[in-house]
Symmetry: C2
Subunit: 344 residues, 2 copies
């Protein structure tokens, strides 16, 4: 079968690899019907830590082709959402809805042993716990939005939840990538009154505004902090959704969160320490977040996708087949595409 | 009148100072009937940042002697609890119950302009917002426990709340000082099932156990982390109450919090950054806490004190008059006394 491989930084190839196959009795194999490229795929692409010949992709919808002898809940032929991490569905963390801390957690397509979803097919460990069957056809018109429940929309929602977005609250979203825009969707859905999107890409800003952003801050650094404070009577916002992961983004987040507020981090942090431990203390600021338990959030978000209440699939502004994946990486890296959908 | 002054580190004096008097129409003056020495008073005592001739003390109960012309709610003769910070009671933070982030916040006895409570009397700015009248006599037997609502019990409660202690949960309390022991009281009160007290002072450990601690960890550093993990099936605890403020205490806290858990910091942090920003992220750990809004917590905690459900006043193991205050500092600093009550 064919799959996306990153031999080294700045290089993405579609290669012939051994067919995905059951290895454990709890495995399933899915034929990938939709996948996509994530902003976090750009970290290894740009020279961040990666694994030689890393198999790429961690967001997908597929059709179950085969199941192991111990798989009970998942059946052949089902259309399923594949969250970006596997989970057993039974441990204490899964029971609390924090499947990304499952004691058997693995991440797809990050070089840690699980293969990638930017491929024709994929082996899914712990299929009963991991996969989420949905009752729609494999080419349903809602596929783009359903696909976002694999990662990007669930991750934006996690940013909002961990930043304690509340009805009537004030929110800033740091980053106008697809996660940030889904953060706007999530904040609006949770009833935030003021949603400040921080970014400068015109098309992305326009989409964020359609999704409910009330204010735009295009400045950076200290100027951005000053501008957010101007927009919030000098206080800063109650909830900051940190959707980038750089040290500058975190510095900005800490500068715009108001006393008693919370920063929800979902951008993979590329810094070693959270600075300003004393200021954070004296202002009773909360820092939270991490890999989003998107598997657990599907229950809450799926009805709104099916009802058309939210349309996070609109973050996809380009569609490619497998051969188009390398150019999809290039386009996202050069910010020509917001998020690239893959139909293998 | 007489008041406690710290001319410089390691030196505490009782000096004659100008009588406390109204300065603003929103002020009150209280005669101090009970005060005490806080662990945080030992930071400047030991050479931490302080102000020359700093007036000391931020925990008190008193009787209202005088009120300014704009004071409406507080009346002469009332017995009142004085939280360690003043607050206007009307700003957006006060309305949310976060009085320690009041836009007019000041701290008593820390050199920032407000005088100290280890004195015969004290001017209270923003009296209507700050003071909490209680309907007991000034020498009621419950005075020690009532006094803890000024700071130490409310602070232990804040550690528990910000560490998200829940019924049936697992908790570790880092530090066996008076705040830590009140943290045990708070965790027990909120229904925690396992409460690990981390400390090694026999009398304090004994009191913590009486208050509901289920396990004791006397090791330090990596050994302490290993021991807490042993006690929690290898996972760590859901809630860590960080009641010290040193870098080592924070390192320990981050090492014993389980994925998805929270560290509630109430020890004044003596470190610049929170290390391990990536590990914290991948484990979805929350860091929260800060100066406790003890003013707001009185509503919740007072009934349990009046009913004898909690007895946080038992943290006081020595009582002095004003002349005994310097020796009280020495005794607390040498860990001969857990917490010193002052009857001016």
């Amino acid at each position: 079968m064919r799959a996306t491989v990153m031999p080294t930084a700045h290089e993405v190839r579609i290669e012939n690899v051994p067919d995905a196959a059951l290895q454990q009795p709890t495995d399933a194999v899915i034929r990938i019907t939709r996948a996509c490229i994530c902003g976090s795929d750009l970290w290894p692409y740009n020279g961040g830590p990666n694994v030689e010949n890393q198999r790429m992709g961690h967001e997908a919808i597929g059709v179950v082709e085969d199941v192991g002898s111990d798989v009970e809940r998942i059946k052949r032929g089902q259309v399923v959402i594949m969250p970006f991490a596997d989970s057993d569905g039974t441990c204490l963390f899964c029971e609390e809805g924090l499947q990304t801390e499952c004691v058997h957690r693995g991440f797809f397509g990050n070089g840690t042993g699980l293969d990638g979803a930017q491929a024709e097919a994929l082996r899914i460990p712990l299929a009963d716990g991991t996969l989420y069957p949905i009752n729609v056809g494999e080419d349903d018109a809602l596929m783009p939005s359903l696909l976002t429940l694999s990662d990007v929309m669930g991750t934006g929602h996690h940013a909002a939840v961990t930043a304690r977005v509340r009805a009537g609250g004030t929110v800033a979203v740091v980053g106008d990538g697809a996660v940030g825009i889904c953060g706007v969707v999530a904040a609006r859905r949770l009833g935030a009154e003021q949603i400040i999107i921080m970014g400068r890409h015109p098309a992305r800003i326009a989409l964020a505004k359609e999704f409910g952003a009330t204010d735009v801050v295009s400045e950076r650094g200290d100027e951005a902090i000053a501008r957010v404070r101007e927009l919030t009577n000098g206080y800063g916002v109650q909830s900051v959704l940190e959707c980038v992961g750089t040290e500058q983004a975190m510095d900005t987040s800490m500068g715009i969160v108001r006393p008693g507020g919370a920063v929800g981090r979902v951008g993979v942090p590329h810094y070693e320490a959270i600075k300003g431990a004393q200021d954070m203390f004296y202002r009773n600021v909360i820092v939270a977040g991490g890999p989003a338990p998107t598997r657990g959030y599907i229950d809450e978000l799926l009805p709104d996708v099916l009802d058309g209440v939210i349309e996070p699939g609109r973050v996809f502004d380009r569609t490619v087949d497998l051969d188009g994946v390398p150019d999809g990486y290039r386009a996202m890296n050069e910010r020509q595409a917001l998020k690239v959908l893959i139909r293998p």
